[in-house]
């Protein structure tokens, strides 16, 4: 170790708390970058290899029913590589330990061998044995986990009106159901929705579908046109009640994973870069101060024959030590937090294995960027120091020049105390330093706003959806649309206080090249349970003609009120119709369109039909009601509002809670680091001034106030700025991920703001107190000494 390096080592030791503060802020930026970029890499890599290994299809289609021979026609389409036909049917389940009925999507397993596409990963147990197995099924992992179903467990399913017992043979995963939730759901509800697989024969026989299929999955040849294949599929399946093919982009599970990656991308760039910038600035201020303090040493070194390059290198090494510390801390922190977040993703996404993959390139890039930024920060200070002729450097620096602060010239300065003026003038004398300090604090505040605005947005949506839009206790759906008089049966079920009918019809809307497939909901003209709400938010009275659609859907289709939309009915007698849009609904869960129920039935030329009913249930007779539902084979689905709501709330709380904790940690570290560092530098630069004040009779507290006055002013400016920046960030991210499945309103509450202000203000205050404790070390007698 050279003697200069030994000096470096000892100087670092003397500056350790400041060096640590800088390294911590740098580590925050790096950790955030490494965490988010690595999560993106983990999700994308895992997804891609999962898709490949288990042959996730590229084009999907559902239909009413087609004979298995149609498979050959599909396989013959130019560009189609592989075709997998199967049956997928939604049924009602009776799960032991669950009071309410659950909904299961049962998929068929091929009669022979493994599925060609969308293969299953067996997590535990085995698949149902052979084609002849009866009363066996495999269950998707998310549902199994929610109910602690292990191989050997039993449950009942209502197959085509007959309740049958089943034994669970295995727990499985499918690339089709990475996100195991009903289509369109933003959050999973694994208690009441599950995915299952059973042998083709048993399922097909139960639904009189033997020798036929109602679901197709297809992969394409390399270079094939997806659009052309989809068009061909639609042509072939049209006579069989085809509901329109779609690509991966529209696949609900795939899409949800994509959305998540997009959120991460939003978070992975802006914040980390800004934190790294702040860290570079802090390195610069620490180093500038250090070099200013060592002017005479530099002069001495130069006088003794050390070259500029050696001296420059010495200080570069100093900042390099900080960068190395920051990178090490950041990498460790990023990996630890990444692991925690990966665990959180298990709540949403089911992969055979979702491992945290460290994005090494990001680590390398981030480390180089930090090092470069720190070096650039130091270069100026070193250059200034080595440029001075030794004789001049031996003399102390000239005293600082000040002028009245800008705000004082407004004529309000007579109300300012001298210490406040000192603060203002110090801020103005170093505008860049003050600005960056302020910016760093503002960003610390801003990052706290984001996760909480997500949380508040979700709460708002939940409350809006289930207090304003849907006021029923339970939604019951029929296996097949039934006659309107069935509503009377619903009203007579045990515990039912009131019931209102609905009619759901799958349709495809078309506006120019854009098509969307969704359920057209028929509701009573002015229902009291499931209501359609406008932007104000008032309930729509559904007119006898025309549809009301989600504002988001209208913007996707580039339509608005007064336009007409072309629709293709995808059920029963297929037909093309043109319907006028009569209103836009404010809703957040998926996309929807609504019509008055009789108008819809007239349009379908089907007479009075209902698909199910929204019902209000007397809580006192809840068990009787649920038993009644389970005993009614015609009921295919039962959605209980409160359990859905509770599930949403829990998932939200868990995921946002973790994010919030991580961001709070970052914000605290940044606020603490920047204030501590600024206060220490101030203390070093103004030691003489502060000692003088002590000698002149200022108490330690009063001198402390003078020391931190400047930082208090900067914090007071930074807090509101941070709230504004944070709100803009939240808005930006919400806009970026404003998709048809996931969209949140920007909800900014006073609690959110207050929390952010509280965290940053307390971190700053504690940090300032820490730094101010160093005031006790000030040597009063030094103030009396002459400068030279």
């Amino acid at each position: 170790m050279s003697l200069l390096d030994r000096k470096l080592f000892r100087d670092l030791k003397a500056l350790k708390s400041q060096a640590i503060a800088v390294a911590l802020v740098m580590a925050c930026g790096l950790a955030m970058m490494i965490m988010t970029r690595s999560l993106i890499l983990s999700l994308a890599t895992t997804r891609d290899s999962y898709y490949e290994r288990f042959r996730f299809a590229e084009v999907f289609a559902r239909l009413k029913r087609a004979p298995n021979s149609v498979r050959e026609e599909l396989a013959a389409i130019p560009g189609v590589a592989r075709v997998q036909i199967s049956i997928a049917i939604q049924v009602t389940l009776d799960v032991p330990g669950l009071m309410e009925p659950a909904v299961g999507l049962i998929n068929s397993l091929p009669e022979r061998g493994e599925p060609v596409l969308n293969r299953l990963h067996v997590r535990a147990g085995r698949l149902p044995a052979g084609r002849t197995a009866v009363g066996e099924l495999a269950v998707g992992e998310a549902f199994a986990a929610a109910h602690q179903l292990k191989p050997g467990a039993t449950l009942s399913a209502v197959l085509n009106g007959t309740k049958q017992p089943f034994r669970v043979t295995g727990v499985v995963l499918s690339p089709e159901f990475v996100f195991e939730a009903p289509p369109g759901a933003a959050l999973p509800d694994n208690k009441t929705y599950g995915v299952f697989w059973m042998p083709y024969k048993e399922l097909a026989t139960a639904f009189q579908l033997y020798g036929a299929f109602n679901s197709v999955a297809i992969t394409l040849d390399p270079g094939a046109s997806e659009g052309a294949v989809i068009a061909a599929i639609n042509r072939i399946l049209a006579p069989y009640g085809g509901r329109g093919a779609y690509g991966r982009v529209d696949h609900p599970s795939h899409r949800r994973v994509d959305d998540e990656i997009r959120v991460l991308q939003g978070l992975s760039v802006a914040f980390p870069l800004v934190f790294l910038g702040v860290a570079a600035f802090m390195t610069n201020s620490v180093m500038s101060r250090q070099i200013a303090l060592q002017r005479e040493q530099i002069a001495m070194l130069k006088a003794c024959g050390f070259g500029n390059r050696q001296i420059g290198l010495h200080y570069f090494k100093f900042s390099l030590a900080i960068v190395v510390g920051g990178v090490a801390l950041g990498a460790v922190g990023g990996v630890i937090l990444g692991y925690r977040l990966v665990e959180m993703y298990h709540l949403f996404f089911r992969f055979p294995q979702l491992d945290f993959i460290l994005d090494g390139r990001v680590l390398l890039t981030a480390a180089s960027v930090s090092a470069l930024a720190a070096f650039t920060g130091v270069a100026g200070a070193v250059h200034r120091a080595v440029r001075l002729p030794p004789a001049e450097a031996m003399r102390p620096e000239a005293p600082a020049r000040y002028q009245p602060a800008l705000v004082e010239r407004l004529g309000i300065s007579r109300w300012f105390s001298p210490s406040f003026r000192m603060a203002l003038r110090n801020i103005q004398r170093r505008p860049v330093r003050s600005g960056l300090t302020c910016l760093a604090l503002a960003l610390a505040t801003a990052i706290l706003i984001v996760p909480n605005s997500f949380r508040d947005g979700i709460t708002y949506v939940i409350d809006f959806q289930w207090d304003i839009v849907q006021r029923q206790t339970v939604t019951l759906s029929l296996v097949e649309p039934g006659p309107a008089r069935a509503i009377a049966d619903f009203r007579h079920m045990p515990g039912v206080v009131w019931a209102e009918p609905f009619r759901f019809v799958p349709i495809e809307l078309k506006a120019g090249p854009i098509t969307r497939r969704l359920l057209l909901q028929g509701l009573p003209e002015r229902g009291t349970l499931s209501r359609v709400i406008d932007a104000y938010p008032q309930q729509f009275t559904l007119p006898p003609r025309g549809i009301i659609m989600s504002a988001k859907l209208a913007s996707v289709l580039q339509l608005s009120t007064g336009d007409s939309v072309n629709a293709r009915v995808l059920e029963g007698r297929e037909r093309e119709i043109t319907i006028p849009i009569v209103g836009l609904a404010e809703d957040f869960a998926g996309i929807a369109c609504y019509m008055e129920i009789h108008a819809l039935n007239r349009l379908l030329l089907e007479g009075d039909c209902i698909s199910g009913a929204h019902v209000v249930v007397d809580k006192a007779r809840w068990p009787q009601f649920l038993a009644g539902v389970k005993e009614t084979p015609r009921i295919a689905g039962c959605i209980i509002k409160d359990s859905l709501r509770e599930g949403f709330r829990k998932t939200t709380a868990e995921s946002i809670g973790l994010l919030q904790k991580i961001y709070m940690l970052f914000a605290t570290i940044v606020a603490f680091g920047i204030i501590y560092n600024s206060a220490r530098i101030s203390l070093s630069e103004r030691a003489r001034e502060l000692a003088t004040l002590r000698v002149l009779g200022f108490s330690r507290g009063e001198v402390g106030a003078v020391l931190v006055g400047e930082l208090v002013v900067l914090t007071l400016v930074a807090l509101p700025a941070g709230l504004i920046i944070g709100s803009a960030f939240a808005k930006g991210i919400l806009t970026a991920v404003n998709t048809e499945t996931v969209r949140l309103p920007l909800v900014l509450t006073a609690e959110n703001y207050a929390f952010a202000v509280l965290v940053v203000a307390s971190a700053s205050a504690v940090s300032a107190v820490f730094a101010a404790r160093k005031l006790a070390d000030i040597d009063l007698v030094s103030a009396l000494k002459a400068l030279d």
Partner: protein, 252 residues
């Protein structure tokens, strides 16, 4: 100013006999470090200082005069001996009491002025007057040192002599019992030094403030009532001037 304009030195002595001293110092010692590394900065000093006196402490560098001044100003506490300020033992003062002693009773003037660079002359004075019980107006204090014209200038815009006079105004604006000046002219040329010393003398005379000036410049001794010469931490000589020489007559 001629010294007879405010009474003869003998009359000062006679009143001094009846008064309680401002500072009563006996056997005052200050030793830094311990055992073999111990350095004795003050080795037993006895003195009494009275209100209205102008005292000069003379001595070479390391003689202990700064250490003595620090003790009087409550910046440091003695290792042995008694140091009473108006009958109260400063050694018994805690941190808070020492702070209010400095705040209310002592005015400091430093060799390097120690003005706050970010505050104007007036504000530098106001900074102190705001925390004192019965201060004079900052403008009046600055007028006393002849700086009425330059009150709104920042330290960097003032000459060395002007800066030192601002420092004196800052020290006297609180109407201190004691004015402690550490080499107040050390960094100034003769002419500027004279204006600064005149300001100190005027305060001492007009306000009856006990003024203690540290210097290694023996010529300043002529302006004092009494002159203590220190060497090796002891008072080696006491001189009483029958007549204080007017500051304007000094030359070095």
């Amino acid at each position: 100013m001629p010294s007879d304009s405010h009474g003869s030195p003998s009359s000062v002595r006679s009143t001094r006999g009846k008064d309680e001293p401002v500072f009563h110092v006996r056997g005052l010692a200050r030793i830094y470090g311990e055992d073999t590394a111990a350095v004795t900065a003050l080795a037993g000093v006895d003195l009494d200082l009275f209100a209205g006196e102008l005292i000069v402490l003379l001595g070479a560098s390391g003689s202990g005069k700064s250490t003595l001044l620090n003790q009087l100003g409550g910046l440091d506490s003695p290792t042995h001996g008694t140091l009473l300020y108006r009958g109260e033992n400063l050694a018994d003062f805690d941190e808070k009491a020492l702070t209010s002693f400095r705040r209310d009773a002592v005015g400091f003037v430093f060799q390097a002025y120690n003005l706050i660079p970010s505050l104007t002359a007036r504000e530098n004075v106001a900074l102190i007057t705001e925390i004192c019980p019965a201060p004079m107006a900052p403008e009046d204090a600055l007028a006393l040192v002849g700086l009425s014209e330059r009150m709104d200038h920042f330290p960097a815009q003032l000459s060395g002599g002007e800066q030192q006079r601002v420092a004196i105004a800052r020290a006297i604006a609180k109407r201190p019992q004691v004015l402690l000046c550490d080499e107040p002219t050390g960094a100034l040329d003769v002419r500027t030094g004279i204006t600064v010393l005149e300001a100190i003398e005027r305060i001492n005379r007009d306000l009856g403030t006990l003024a203690v000036i540290i210097t290694h410049n023996a010529i300043l001794a002529d302006m004092a009532d009494r002159v203590f010469t220190l060497s090796d931490g002891r008072i080696v000589n006491i001189r009483e001037n029958q007549l204080r020489a007017p500051v304007s007559s000094l030359a070095w």
